[in-house]
Symmetry: C2
Subunit: 276 residues, 2 copies
């Protein structure tokens, strides 16, 4: 099986590193619209060679590891791929992508969202093992061709991932709460603190807690602008429900209703009965 990866940043580059190790994968090649990234990907030995976008149709599997608006644009340019090609996107939103797949390649297409990543980006951010042990959400897999669904399952299994199935609408709402809204908040924390605090005080006082809350604010602006656009309605709903929750905590603090503050804090700690 030969694989072409479009997008050689954190997600695509890390994927290349892991795919190369699999016994049923022969060549892993790549394309990136950023020529500097292509050069780095070769230097870092992420892919065997760089190909043109037109050449991807010669590969059995094509991964789209690019910002979600780019996924939609690329799919339009893949309408003449062979019947047996599998195209897998790794984007963080799913509804707009799935509804934009040209019908003639709908069976070629598998919508996947690997729940992994780091705040770093570009080819130099690629790390081996990024996918291992994480969940991959597969959306509306029943609309993919039988061959393509089984190719995707085989690859994600070989990467050591746990599969989760849901439709695109469900996925996008859950992702808004569990990923996209927290990213928006992290950017806003970063901006608030930079508006209010000078560099020296930030450096003096920033301990692990602040680093943890502002870490996501390092994430790629191109990637996140696209996600916010494609998941706009769910994201706005999630932000507004978060605002209501913060408003409630603030009101209890303002009113010195410390019993309620305590209950609010304590109920927040319960999340970790689920997560840990």
């Amino acid at each position: 099986m030969n694989v072409a990866i479009i997008g050689l940043g954190l997600m695509g580059g890390s994927l290349a590193l892991s795919l190369k190790k699999l016994d049923f994968i022969e060549d892993v090649v790549g394309f990136d619209h950023n020529k500097e990234h292509e050069k780095q990907a070769l230097e870092l030995n992420l892919v065997k060679k760089i190909i043109t976008f037109e050449e991807v149709k010669n590969y059995d599997v094509v991964f789209l590891a690019i910002p979600v608006d780019g996924v939609i644009a690329s799919l339009k340019n893949l309408i003449n791929i062979p019947k047996n090609t599998t195209v897998i996107d790794l984007g963080s939103t799913k509804s707009k992508i799935i509804s934009s797949v040209p019908p003639q390649i709908r069976e070629n297409f598998v919508a996947a969202h690997p729940m992994t990543g780091t705040e770093n980006f570009g080819p130099s951010a690629a790390v081996e093992g990024l996918y291992e042990g994480s969940v991959v959400v597969l959306c509306s897999l029943e609309d993919s061709g039988e061959l393509q669904a089984s190719v995707a399952r085989k690859i994600f299994k070989a990467l050591g991932m746990k599969k989760s199935f849901m439709n695109a609408h469900e996925h996008d709402r859950h992702a808004a709460f569990i990923s996209h809204m927290p990213h928006a908040i992290s950017y806003s924390i970063a901006n608030t603190v930079m508006n209010q605090e000078n560099k020296n005080n930030i450096l003096a006082l920033a301990a692990g807690g602040f680093r943890s809350m502002s870490r996501l604010a390092k994430s790629s602006p191109n990637m996140w602008e696209d996600i916010f656009r494609q998941n706009k309605d769910n994201l706005l709903e999630a932000i507004e429900l978060f605002e209501d929750e913060l408003q409630l905590l603030k009101k209890n603090i303002k009113d010195e209703n410390w019993d309620n503050v305590h209950k609010n804090i304590e109920s927040g700690t319960k999340l970790h009965d689920i997560l840990d």
Copy 2:
């Protein structure tokens, strides 16, 4: 030098582990109002022995490693300590504590805030090296006795900490933005997600980003209720400025003003030019 630590949780327990290693420290003993914690602290070998609160006056240095309301209460019960005793509090707020120090022991007292910690609490959370390499903020050190200031400097230096000096008012405002507001947000994220999402979807979709943003929501409710109370006005201001910032991002998303969304995200990423 003999040291008594009041409060044998994460901060006090970790401190005990590091102090024991210093050549100028003889005994490190402890007290905790929670008898179970005292037992655990002995079992974990954090302190040499457990003493009563009344006995702390027999030690050269007394650390108060307890929630900030407890610091204020304890200081009132320490008014008859010897002239040469050094009492150091490690609380996350400073104005209310400093203004509540009984005048007869003001020179005994050193207000310190070590900018370190983890989301875990209790004696079992104690880890060696927690203080090493972190900043300790010393507030209004000019009001401490000369002996006490020099004892505190010596200990924090030996712990490998970097010192930062500011008055309590400045400290509390900075801490509100860089620590207390992010904690409040983390609790609200945790509550929002638990209200909207079931356990299975949280587990399926929670990747590193969500864990990072909700980690602080594990922190001790007793400790954080006190901090929110003592730093109420600064915290409310910080939350409100954060709300304005999030509101702006939300408005740009709602209005589909993607250039502004991109600028907002990009300015957020600039924080990491300072932090990294």
